[in-house]
Symmetry: C2
């Protein structure tokens, strides 16, 4: 069994309105040292497979098909045996 | 200058309906090996400070005040000098 951690982030060239809003709120609260803010997703999935290569392949497929929108998002993942 | 990476996750005891929905969709797509799915946020912030201890202190304050809802969420962060 593996625990997969998937990070999905907007591509560099894509505007991040949610990040801009958070930055604005941080400035309003007095955190003027904050520059660019980018917001992404962080997903933890239990994968009930015993072979690491198979698990990697399946997680990649999940990212491509559902977890990330690869037109505007990048993804990366880590697998940890549990 | 530092780059702060903040991870915000729902506490273990809190239900994650978004995670359950993603799990359901993955099963529908044939990924039956997927067990529990938990979804969190992943934020990258530029911090325009030169002192690491000061930057840590400020990021912690941002998490407590705005980035995480500490009633239902946990957070952790990493600082990288850039």
């Amino acid at each position: 069994m593996f625990k997969a951690t998937v990070f999905v982030t907007l591509r560099e060239s894509v505007l991040d309105p949610q990040g801009s809003a958070v930055r604005g709120s941080l400035h309003t609260l007095g955190f003027d040292e904050v520059g660019e803010v980018r917001i992404g997703k962080y997903m933890q999935l239990e994968i009930d497979l015993n072979d690491r290569a198979a698990a990697e392949e399946r997680v990649k497929e999940m990212c491509e098909k559902l977890l990330a929108n690869t037109v505007i998002e990048d993804y990366r993942y880590e697998l940890q045996e549990v």
